[in-house]
Symmetry: C2
Subunit: 291 residues, 2 copies
């Protein structure tokens, strides 16, 4: 593939009829994809699950940022008109840089979650992977807006969800292990990982007094509004979704079906090819798409 | 660093007084390191924990093989006289190739575990990461030796151990989740991941009828015998251990202390430097150390 495909040539072809690209370290971002599809039923989507390199949460930030750039290069090669980082760890590690450098609008999940949490009051908890919590991306933004923050890294939750343990005694015990110290005074708890919404039932039994904040719906609303404002909304699409994964396609299908997402089109991508694409992209000057 | 350092020049300097290099995806290999130290108290060791890229178990084999090559290049740059792959996933992915290509003896953990299991009878279970179980490395070798094999991938166990949950209700429930289908006829169960020995207490309550096979001690015995036979045993070392990790050094110290291993010397290594070292190594013709 010529590197120019990724930049100027493609950018000039991208318009309302193009797909929206969505990516995550694995299946967690499907909670965001579902909200996007519900908010914009006539948009077409590409979902990229980096299942071969999941989890992101325990990896160094610069590594996750490089993964995010490689996946963005891949999505741009598929002519997406916008990119949604449907992963908190990758949003913390890469949103700022990708927003500055990519030729299409880029959306993360952090600010929409914060906006949704502040509706309920200023005492806010946030849970996420070690990468997300240690980056302090949520804590810094919340404090700047006057919130009192309780935070906790929960390294086992995402692997547990990837394993299909969503609402059983194991999930209950592991969630209790992490949340038993949560202050009674919390107004809300941000689920700072896109895997966590499937654990809402369990969490609401463990911390029944807090509002559980899932960034999926608020992120979808932000994306919907922005696409309209930029003249990029597609009113004629069929809601088609194509999936690309770096791990095993059949394992992905099995798990994705539990999210109620159509997985008739799943393509496995070689990580080595993705790395080359990312290197080509990084080496090429980038031109932003006209707003 | 000149690439020649890694090969002929170093190999000719390596002798009995050099260190033994040991590596794993994270802290699990410390169970093997402990057994090595107990079997050879006058040997000096370098332990490399790839904590920045853990876990290996969910990653594609070729990626794990590349990681193993990069770490081997690093260990050779520290003049190790032998390398122990103290990780089942990496042994499955890389032992054959590294044994052929590295200039020092290389040891894995699979065959020692199989030898130890066959002592108890031919009905053998094996548990491990998805990478280990899907590689069928154990199953193929066991079947070739006339064993009847039951196997199960247990993706949550290694992250659970890395999280410090070793002997509590969560560990009990998760172990039960994986082992409740284990046949009553099993003579032994190979703990096909170096993280699992710390779960022995829990496992012996869940499957009290089987002999739990931990490859650490049998691997240590194989290494001890081989070093003696090759004239590489060190009878004058102090049992010093230096640790190198790709993730956070203080988190590593905290978890490693639970394994009873001295971690006074821990150095953090940049993954990017490691990748460069691996590329230099792969590009250089290799010369085996005289046996």
């Amino acid at each position: 593939m010529a590197t120019t495909d990724l930049h100027t040539d493609e950018a000039s072809r991208q318009g309302a009829s193009s797909c929206v690209g969505v990516f995550d370290s694995g299946v967690g971002g499907l909670t965001v994809l579902t909200a996007l599809r519900d908010a914009m039923p006539t948009e077409d989507f590409i979902y990229f699950g980096d299942t071969g390199r999941t989890p992101y949460g325990s990896k160094p930030q610069e590594m996750v940022a490089r993964f995010a750039e490689e996946i963005s290069a891949f999505l741009l090669s598929k002519q997406v008109k916008a990119i949604v980082i449907a992963c908190n760890t990758a949003s913390c590690a890469a949103l700022d840089k990708l927003s500055r450098t990519l030729p299409v609008p880029v959306f993360g999940v952090i600010d929409p979650a914060i906006d949704a949490a502040l509706v309920h009051g200023k005492r806010i908890g946030v849970i996420g992977t070690s990468g997300t919590i240690n980056s302090e991306a949520y804590q810094t933004r919340l404090s700047a807006r006057g919130a009192h923050v309780w935070s906790k890294a929960c390294p086992l939750l995402a692997p547990m969800v990837e394993e299909g343990l969503w609402d059983d005694p194991i999930a209950q015990l592991v969630v209790r292990h992490y949340l038993e110290d949560a202050p009674k005074s919390l107004h809300s708890l941000i689920l700072g990982c896109t895997h966590y919404p499937v654990l809402k039932n369990v969490m609401s039994r463990v911390v029944p007094w807090v509002n559980l904040i899932d960034s999926a719906e608020s992120t979808a609303e932000v994306v919907r509004t922005a696409l309209h404002q930029k003249g990029l909304a597609n009113t004629r699409g069929t809601g088609a979704i194509r999936h690309f994964v770096t791990g095993d396609a059949s394992s992905y299908r099995l798990l994705a079906s539990r999210f109620g997402v159509d997985t008739s089109s799943v393509t496995a991508i070689d990580v080595a090819d993705l790395i080359v694409l990312g290197q080509q992209f990084a080496a090429t000057p980038q031109q932003r798409m006209p707003a």
